[in-house]
Symmetry: C2
Subunit: 455 residues, 2 copies
Amino acid sequence: MEKVQKYIDENTPRFLDELFELLRIPSISAQSEHKGDMVKCAEWLAASLVKAGADRAEVMPTDGNPVVYAEKIIDPAAKTVLVYGHYDVMPVDPRAEWRTEPFEPVVKDGRIWARGADDDKGQLFMHAKAFEAMCATDSLPCNVKFMLEGEEEIGSPSLYKFCEDYKEMLKADIILVSDTSMISMDTPSITCGLRGLTYMEVEVVGPNKDLHSGLFGGAVANPANVLTRLVASLVDENGRVTIPGFYDDVRELTPAEREAFNEAPFCLDEYKKALDIDDVEGEAGYTTIERTGVRPSLDVNGIWGGYIEEGTKTVIPSKASAKISMRLVPNQDFVKIGELFEKHFRAIAPKSVKVNVKFLHGGAPYVSPTDMAAYKAAEQAIVDTFGKKPLPFYSGGSIPIISGFERILGIKSLLIGFGLSEDAIHSPNESYGLEQFDKGVRTIPLFYKHFAEVE
Amino acid sequence: MEKVQKYIDENTPRFLDELFELLRIPSISAQSEHKGDMVKCAEWLAASLVKAGADRAEVMPTDGNPVVYAEKIIDPAAKTVLVYGHYDVMPVDPRAEWRTEPFEPVVKDGRIWARGADDDKGQLFMHAKAFEAMCATDSLPCNVKFMLEGEEEIGSPSLYKFCEDYKEMLKADIILVSDTSMISMDTPSITCGLRGLTYMEVEVVGPNKDLHSGLFGGAVANPANVLTRLVASLVDENGRVTIPGFYDDVRELTPAEREAFNEAPFCLDEYKKALDIDDVEGEAGYTTIERTGVRPSLDVNGIWGGYIEEGTKTVIPSKASAKISMRLVPNQDFVKIGELFEKHFRAIAPKSVKVNVKFLHGGAPYVSPTDMAAYKAAEQAIVDTFGKKPLPFYSGGSIPIISGFERILGIKSLLIGFGLSEDAIHSPNESYGLEQFDKGVRTIPLFYKHFAEVE
């Protein structure tokens, strides 16, 4: 392992230089104008993995953005690690709030600032460079496969079929994923729970054209008013989702589980201060970490209708829309929740409007066992680099494809992410600490070592 | 009068050609990029009025867009008519829904299609051309003054001071305004009531940056969710505005007044069919024409927050906003209503967010008496051209400056508009019927004639 760590010492500036190249490609999967950037990004990664030591690396087409697949088989009898990551990034809006160019990375205050700096280019690139360090120093103890997709931020629509089609090629003992966060650099953690997701779009349609709000105001249902009414009614005064059946399959924690769960270090005052809010808000009867870790939620991710430019326009818009997503917990089914949502939204719409409801994407919640060999290997690797045993952590986030991997490939995932909440993923001014990147690159080879050794 | 009507017969094609020039100027007052177009439009009108026969015409600066003032004094002892109109127009969005270019007028199906075709360029230009016809045929029986502003669609912020500053210059016996609609071509009407307006903008501010809706969803107040809650609560299940004190000053109609009011021809089925809606919606206990004519209302004119582009983004927006306007009836005070709104909105905001509330503009309701000389003259002029006595009509719309005229100048306004609801003012595909324009140009000189004659 010393050779590996020395290789990392000597090559880190080049690692970062290469990462910057990767970050400069604006691979936003949600926006079709970036189709070409997705292919460019995939090709860049394939070339990079070959240089790092892969026996083969391919840009494999799908119905959507291509998947980068690469592998190095050292011994068919050895354990196999399948590294999963995604090279697509979130849109950058609100663009005006970025202090630097989102696709022109800079280092400042010990952090890399760019869209994708953490999520997930920065994190997946730690795996590429850890792999390079092991190959270059002849220390790779496992077979390695890489599967890097370009559609995670839009719900991985093509990767399910890809997994079905390439089951044999993707065979592995564990799927290794760095696309999550730790509690803090002082309190390292391994994510053992992810929420599921159901993402919907609704449209309320009223009159066949925008109307003058004087001539018609008060006599005709205003789709924007109706939308606020319908959306507001989806969560009650106790912070509970009102969709009938929504909680039916939620696994309630036992009192002992809740107690253990709330032992994770958490300071409400610091949490509020970091967000600059005077109060938190959520489901009555649950703590903040329970609310994101083990309880479902419903959020408006976007809402629009009528005149939203400068000045005033006295108009009743003919329609208004919202994007609404729900985070799900075991054992909620994301398809069923989408159906319940649609049924309920149609049921509560008044006769004065029409509504359109669209399922945009979704994924199941995931629980990663803490008693598997990979978890133990990761725990030991983190003890080696952080000097502390990591805590098991339930993240509020979702990586919908992870439960798909278990269902299709029959392989568990280990979620060893090095993100921090201050990385502001999905927000303006995303960043990734140089120390986080460094700890990641150094921890990953130790994982391989321990994983090869444990029973 | 025969000479005037003959002049109109012969010159109508040129009138329309000139109107098209006027319509081509994109004089959108709400958008600062059109500042130059406002001046261009004012200069065009001043030149046009001089050609039409004015003794003087000036583009007079204000703190905002200029006012076009013109006059022709035939005899200091004769009655004086002050024509008011506005050369600014509404924004064109949603742009995609226009079937023709908003500022490239065309005639099709007997109508002029363009932004401003009715509101108010088409209507004010009828006055300019009627004036020209009377001048050219030596038939002008009154002194005429024109005051054409460029800020009506944004609440006439500069015209109040203009009236204060030029009280003497603006002296007149009546203010003549064509900026309203008739019930239909078969049922001509004169507007004798206008609603007032209070136009507000609210912003709900939560966390100091957009957040990942997985990591924070369910634990932090989402400003878009909170906005829907607050806005939805402003109107109750009976369609009544919930702001404390909102109805305190509303003048309730007597049963006899209500009965008379509901005698106006109105077909609910046709109304719904024209708008393509299955049901109307409004304050319980009132008919549709009461709801727009004599009852106040609250409408969301625009709402926005979070991710509103293509695809999905799992984000909790740091803020969300809405433009909300209220139509007022006698004797509601638009300033007081704005204050009540702000106080209430702040009171209902939860501690988990901050709110910003801004008063954008407003104006008082107006009642135009049906027993004044000008009303009788207009009634007779309409009998002459339509062959029917016009009905007095309460419009749901607002022209905030009209009550200002009475307060500052001490002059009543006569609202003789030739619009129709199908003109779709403020909407995409605004239009104005050639017949409406023609009837207007021919009715106006008759009004002058009768007005000069009545006691």
